[in-house]
Amino acid sequence: MVYLDYAATTPLNDEVLNAYTKLLKQYYGNSDSLHALGREAAKLMETAREQISDLLSVRKEEVLFTSCASEANNLALKGYAFHYQKRGKHLITTAVEHSSVLHTMEQLEKQFGFEVSYLPVNEQGKVELESLKQALRKDTILVSCMLVNNESGAINDISVLADYVHAFSRAAFHMDGVQGLGKVELPLDAVDMATFSAHKIYGLKGSGLLIKKQHVELLPLISAGQQEQGLRGGTSNSPVNTVFAKTLRLALEKQAEHTAYVKGLNDYLREELAKLDHIIINSDPSGSPYILNFSCLKIGSEIMLNALDERGFCVSAQSTCASHTKAHSYVLSAMGLGEVRATHAVRVSLSHLTKQSELTSFIEALKEIIHDYQIR
């Protein structure tokens, strides 16, 4: 089995697993209980929060634990929109966001009377400042834009976009940073809110973060107890939250080393794909080296995936969170790459765990598949 779908999720780091097991067994107390066991759990979780805030250079109170990045996105967008709706009801996002942003926006638009502008992206998959300038209005209260696109790997100039928003409007800026964490530099100084996830960096599933700067207020979506400053009620998942700190430390410590290695893999893969007929690379070289998206013009995404799967290769066609719909990449469409490329896309996502030999056999398999099954 060759796993090339690290943007969907990653295997668990053993060190993280050991820490998690110890936490589950020894520190099962409710972190809000007043007795020793509860206090221990609370202390560990708060220490973790502090470590995370140090690693990300934000304040401790700005780190909120959630059950996943999708929840964090929902809390950021709805929580903000509901709280500040008296200031205006216009929101801006991009056409290529993750489903947890797009569907939240859609809900705000259809059910709650907000107006949403969807920014286009250029051929590289990036949002241009000019289109943001045109969309920004007096009643815009929130702009949400992802750092690294999960399908194309395109990296947005978040600082430029956010600085413009702050200079010329009262709107806040939210960044979905899930695919950037541990991979590219995080422009956390520039934004008001940011979303991250543990399972993309060899951590646990069911573990997300919302970074919320102190001046930002939110309406809680889960109204319950005092946990997470009352913004996210419900018994704290303290073992999971605690172990996020270690997950993050491990990822950031090795970021430079891993990125350099993956860049090498990416270059190799690009070179080899360029030698094949009928293949067009969709990811711009300026993007994240961890994601490489290409289209095989002769074989549709679904058939390609089935064929690769049969040979033991795990890849995706599009965002994993939207994989149960018809294989058509809205991201590639938005990049203006045309119907064919959008329906014939394959997303390979790499890791420091990927070996070059795995990529060599992947290329071999591609050649076979193209030879055996090409249709048009």
Partner: protein, 406 residues
């Protein structure tokens, strides 16, 4: 390396001494104490090297992150200000090209050059240096001169061999280096006022130890942890703080059993002072410090203070005595203790609060009430059973055995 791809990398921090410049022959002690404190505060950066002169302290960064160092340096008392600096040889060509590079790296619109020569044999006088450097910048960048309110202030200090080029002066914490003024014992309650009192005491150069009165099970472990967290916060200003935890339950119960309820707080405070004085003697502390503020509660009226103060001979310093609550809160926020202080836990002063505490207690009555019972053995027991905890800045409590979890 000073320059990486045309980006300015600061290799020095230049530290200007605070009030101690006025202190005549004590100056030497002050400077060496300051250097000791700075080294202590920056001990997590092993690569740093230091050079002290009579009016400046230079910290060589040797690759350490200037901003991380500056966060800690800003807490060291005895520093009036400091600047990130680039050291170049005292050569006009070098000075001009580096100043130009600094200007190009800035996004300011206006600038001013401020030169000083401590090396008077340097061929150009300060004003000529200013003109030469400014001419380069005017010619090669968009920046304009504004001598009154410049957005970018480039300071150039020319010494015999080396010249320091600096921008933006960062204010230091002021005050005197902690330790030059002896040592005092702070009564740390867990409230808002006593951490502020600790901070103000240290600011005047006085090192502190803390004493805390715990009455388990009436006060919780969490309350005690809160006190240690507060100590860890203010420990940043002196490096390390010793906290003496006094087991106060027995004595407190005895007070409530044997004394009139309205005088309970008065007597309790008298007992606390007695214990504090004995700890002072043992620890060589020269004064008791607390967070009392006139009129804030019944035990903090002038009449109460007078009655309570009678039991000790050493000075009792009350740094926040005349401050409004809001002024104290501002300071607490400034030193980042406010959010810890407002966590709602019972402390030994709030639990046994009488319904009608006396606001004007008399010494005569207090002494009479105390004479009904022999408190001395209990006071002595309190002192003997003190548990002393060493708290360091950023101490993560009981994390050590769980280091593998992080």
């Amino acid at each position: 390396m000073t320059i990486k791809s045309d980006k300015v990398v600061y290799n020095h921090i230049l530290v200007r001494y605070g009030e101690l410049s006025t202190k005549g022959k004590n100056k030497k002690d002050f400077i060496s104490r300051l250097l000791h404190n700075v080294k202590n505060a920056l001990r997590e950066f092993p690569a740093l090297t230091y050079e002290k002169t009579h009016d400046r302290l230079y910290i060589m960064l040797n690759g350490e992150d200037a901003h991380k160092v500056s966060d800690l340096l800003a807490k060291v008392f005895g520093i009036s200000s400091f600047s990130f600096a680039i050291k170049v040889p005292s050569d006009m060509e070098e000075i001009r090209s580096m100043a130009l590079k600094v200007a190009k790296n800035s996004d300011a619109l206006t600038f001013k050059i401020v030169s000083r020569r401590s090396f008077k044999q340097f061929p150009l006088i300060s004003d000529e240096i200013n003109r030469a450097v400014a001419a380069d910048i005017l010619r090669q960048t968009e920046l304009k001169v504004d001598v009154h309110d410049p957005q970018l202030r480039i300071q150039i200090e020319v010494h015999q061999f080396d010249t320091y080029i600096m921008i933006n002066t960062i204010p230091g914490a002021g005050g005197y280096p902690v330790g030059v003024g002896g040592k005092a014992l702070v009564m740390l309650s867990g409230g808002i006022d006593s951490p502020v009192a600790s901070y103000l005491t240290m600011k005047r150069g006085v090192a502190i130890e803390c004493i805390h009165y715990a009455s388990p099970p009436y006060t919780s472990k969490r309350a005690q942890e809160k006190v240690l967290q507060l100590a860890a916060k203010v420990a940043g200003y002196q490096g390390h703080i010793r906290v003496h935890i006094v087991p106060f339950t027995e004595l407190q119960l005895a007070i409530y059993k044997h004394c009139d309820e309205s005088y309970a707080i008065t007597i309790m405070r008298r007992m606390m002072y007695r214990i504090a004085q004995r700890v002072c003697e043992r620890q060589n502390c020269l004064a008791i410090v607390n967070g009392e503020s006139i009129g804030q509660v019944a035990s903090q009226t002038l009449e109460s203070m007078q009655t309570i103060n009678q039991v000790v001979q050493i000075p009792v310093i009350r740094p926040v005595v005349t401050m409004d609550k809001l002024e104290i809160i501002d300071l607490a926020k400034h030193i980042d203790t406010y959010d810890i202080s407002i966590q709602p836990f019972e402390d030994c002063c709030t639990i046994f609060t009488p319904k009608n505490p006396v606001t004007k207690p008399t010494l005569k009555k207090a002494e009479k009430l105390e004479s009904f019972f022999d408190f001395e053995p209990l006071v002595e027991a309190c002192v003997e059973q003190i548990e002393t905890i060493n708290v360091y800045p950023g101490t993560k409590f009981s994390i050590e055995e769980n280091a593998d979890l992080f």
